[in-house]
C-alpha cells in the first residue's frame, strides 16, 4: 500500500487512487501506525509528531497546532517534551499513534495498535478509533485480540497462512460458524488454534 513492497499480483486503491500508479497522491490520504513504532529516540514526541505532520503536507504552524491537539487528545502532555529514549512500550505506542492521526488522514492503517498498552491507554485508543470511525475515517487494523476486533470492527477479514479464509461482519462470521464469540468463530475458520499462539 505504501509502495515499499511490490505486489505479486493484483492492485490496491486508496480513495480510488491506484497506489502503484500514483503513490504520492495515495500516500497523502494515509496514516500509518507501524510495527515496530519507528520512533526517533533523540526527538521529543512533539518534535516527532510535528515532523511527520509537515511531511504529510501541513505547514509548520498548522503542524504545530495539530500536534498540540493530538497530544492533548491522547493525554500525552506529560511526556510531550521528553525525548523518546527510555519510553515505556505504552508511551511509544501512543507517540506512534499520534503520528499516524495528526494530519487527519481519511484512511488510517494500524499494525497491532494495542500491543503493550496499559488498560487506560487501550481504552483511550479504542475511544479514539471509534471517534475516527464516527468522523468518517476508514480505519484498517490488524490484531490478534478478538475482543478488541469484536468491539471495534464493522468488517473483519480473517487471514491464515497469507490467505483470506473468511470476511464479513462479526455477527455474520459467528452466524456462519454457529459460534457465540468471534474468538470461537476464528478458531473454527482457520481450522486450528495456531492463530491464537501467533
Amino acid at each position: 500500500m505504501f509502495g515499499l513492497l511490490k505486489a505479486d499480483k493484483g492492485t490496491a486503491e486508496i480513495d480510488g487512487i491506484d497506489v502503484a500508479k500514483n503513490p504520492m497522491a495515495a500516500k497523502q490520504n494515509l496514516g500509518l501506525f507501524p510495527d515496530p513504532c519507528g520512533l526517533y529516540e533523540r526527538l521529543t514526541p512533539r518534535e516527532y509528531i510535528t515532523f511527520f505532520a509537515q511531511l504529510s503536507g501541513m505547514s509548520e504552524i498548522a503542524a504545530k497546532e495539530a500536534t498540540a491537539k493530538v497530544l492533548e487528545k491522547l493525554s500525552m502532555d506529560d511526556i510531550a517534551d521528553r525525548r523518546c529514549q527510555g519510553f515505556s512500550q505504552g508511551q511509544r505506542m501512543k507517540t506512534a499513534l499520534a503520528q499516524a492521526v495528526v494530519h487527519n488522514p481519511s484512511n488510517i492503517i494500524l499494525d497491532e495498535p494495542t500491543r503493550g498498552l496499559d488498560v487506560m491507554s487501550t481504552r483511550i485508543l479504542r475511544e479514539l478509533l471509534l471517534l475516527l470511525k464516527a468522523q468518517g475515517h476508514c480505519v484498517l487494523f490488524s490484531s490478534h485480540v478478538m475482543q478488541e476486533v469484536a468491539a471495534l470492527c464493522d468488517h473483519v477479514v480473517i487471514m491464515a497462512n497469507g490467505k483470506v479464509v473468511a470476511e464479513g461482519s462479526v455477527e455474520s462470521l459467528c452466524e456462519r460458524t454457529g459460534k457465540d464469540s468471534l474468538e470461537e468463530a476464528f478458531i473454527d475458520l482457520i481450522g486450528s488454534d495456531e492463530g491464537i499462539a501467533a
Binding site: 497522491a25 500516500k27 519507528g38 526527538l43 515532523f51
Partner: protein
C-alpha cells in the same frame, strides 16, 4: 519540494546534533590531527637542531688521536662503557699501520663496521661517514698547503645555488600533510553520523515509516547528504581554526620556511571542500545503505574512505601522474597547496575536478534513492 527538503534537513540536523557521542567522535579528528602534526614536527625539528651525542666503538684509537678528536668535536665520542645506552653498534677499526701510512702520505685504512640494513642505525652511519669525509678533505687540504699547492685546485666546479623558493613555498612536504589532514576531515568528521542516519535509521525501523509518507526517496537522500555535509564543514572549520593557531607555534624558521593559515586560505579551503563534503556524504550514505547492518556499514565506509585518502596522498607525496592530477581530491588538494604557497592556482584542473565531484554527488545520490525503492534495502533483507 524545497519545503520538504527543509523539513527533512532540519530534522536530520536536530537528530544528529543530539547524538553527542557521534558528533564529538568526529570532531576529535578535526582537533587532534593538527595538534598531533604539530607535536610531531616540533620533536623532529628539535632533533634536527641539536642532534644527539653519538657514541661508537673505536678500536685502536690510540693510533689516531687527531681523528678521534675530530669525531669528538662533531659529537661522535668513543664509548668507554659497553652498557652505555647511547652506544650504537658501529665500530670504527683503525688499522695498525694507520700512523705509518699517515706519515708517508698514503691512504690510511679505517674500517667502518655496521649493519646498513638497520633502518634506525642508517642515519648514524651516514653521520659517521660524513664526519670522516670532512676529516679526509681537511687533512688533504693541509697536505697540499704544506707542499705549496693551492687546495682550490681540487675544486673543479663552483656550484652556486640561487634558491627562488619563498619561505611559504619551501614547506611542500609539510603543506601536503597539512592539506591532507584538512581534506580527510571532510570525510571523517561526519562518518559516524552518515552511518547512523542511513544504516542506523533502517535498524531503528524509522526508514520504512519515513518512506510511507508522500515524499520521494531522493528527498530523503538529499536531506541526509546535506545534513552530513553540514557536519563535515563544521569539522573543516574547526580543523582550520585549530591549524591556524597550532601551526603558528612550531619553529618552522629552523627549516627555512613558514606556514601561515590566512583567512583568505580558510575561505578558499571552505569553497573548494564544499563539493567534496557533499560528494563524501552521498558516498557514505550510498555505502551504508548497501550494507545490511550498522556494523557492516562501519566496515565498508572505512574501507571506501581509503580511496580519497589514496588520491590525497598521491598529491602529498608528489607521485601523481598527469592524469591523476585532474582527478577529484588530488586536484583540489593540489590547488590548496598552491594557494598556501602563494603560487598561481591550477584553475582548469580545479574546475574539472570540482565538476566531477558534483557529478559524483549526483550519481551517488541517485543510486541511493534507487536503492530505497528496493524492499531488500529498506527492510535490510
Amino acid at each position: 519540494m524545497i519545503n520538504l527538503l527543509k523539513v527533512l534537513y532540519k530534522k536530520e540536523v536536530m537528530d544528529a546534533s543530539r547524538d553527542k557521542r557521534s558528533v564529538v567522535a568526529g570532531l576529535y579528528y578535526a582537533i587532534g590531527a593538527p595538534l598531533g602534526i604539530c607535536i610531531l614536527f616540533t620533536l623532529l625539528l628539535q632533533q634536527l637542531a641539536s642532534p644527539d651525542a653519538l657514541k661508537i666503538t673505536i678500536e685502536n684509537s690510540l693510533s689516531a688521536p687527531n681523528l678521534v678528536a675530530h669525531l669528538k668535536n662533531n659529537d661522535i665520542a668513543m664509548a668507554t662503557d659497553n652498557t652505555d645506552s647511547k652506544l650504537k653498534p658501529i665500530i670504527l677499526q683503525i688499522s695498525d699501520d694507520y700512523q705509518k701510512n699517515m706519515r708517508e702520505g698514503r691512504p690510511a685504512t679505517v674500517t667502518l663496521i655496521a649493519d646498513k640494513s638497520d633502518d634506525k642505525l642508517r642515519k648514524h652511519i651516514q653521520r659517521v661517514e660524513k664526519t670522516l669525509a670532512l676529516y679526509n678533505s681537511e687533512v688533504a687540504s693541509l697536505r697540499l698547503i704544506t707542499r705549496g699547492v693551492d687546495p682550490q685546485l681540487m675544486r673543479v666546479l663552483a656550484v652556486e645555488v640561487n634558491d627562488q623558493a619563498t619561505p611559504d613555498s619551501k614547506g611542500g612536504m609539510f603543506l601536503g600533510i597539512a592539506t591532507l589532514s584538512m581534506i580527510l576531515t571532510v570525510f571523517y568528521a561526519a562518518m559516524n553520523l552518515a552511518i547512523d542516519t542511513s544504516a542506523g535509521e533502517r535498524e531503528r525501523n524509522s526508514l520504512s515509516l519515513l518512506l510511507s509518507h508522500p515524499l520521494s526517496s531522493l528527498h530523503i537522500v538529499l536531506a541526509k547528504s546535506a545534513a552530513i555535509a553540514t557536519f563535515s564543514m563544521l569539522g573543516l572549520a574547526i580543523i582550520l581554526v585549530v591549524s591556524k593557531f597550532s601551526y603558528g607555534m612550531v619553529p618552522w624558521q629552523q627549516l627555512g620556511f613558514s606556514v601561515t593559515i590566512t583567512p583568505s586560505f580558510m575561505l578558499f579551503c571552505a569553497v573548494v571542500c564544499l563539493p567534496i563534503a557533499f560528494m563524501s556524504a552521498s558516498l557514505q550514505v550510498f555505502v551504508s545503505f548497501t550494507a545490511k547492518s550498522f556494523k557492516e556499514a562501519q566496515s565498508y565506509v572505512t574501507m571506501v574512505l581509503f580511496i580519497p585518502m589514496a588520491l590525497s596522498m598521491v598529491t602529498t607525496y608528489d607521485i601523481a601522474t598527469d592524469i591523476v592530477q585532474w582527478l577529484p581530491i588530488a586536484a583540489q588538494q593540489f590547488a590548496l597547496m598552491e594557494f598556501i604557497k602563494g603560487n598561481p592556482i591550477p584553475v582548469p584542473q580545479l574546475v574539472l575536478s570540482t565538476l566531477i565531484t558534483i557529478i559524483l554527488f549526483g550519481v551517488f545520490s541517485y543510486l541511493s534513492s534507487r536503492m530505497l525503492k528496493s524492499e531488500k534495502v529498506v527492510f535490510g533483507l
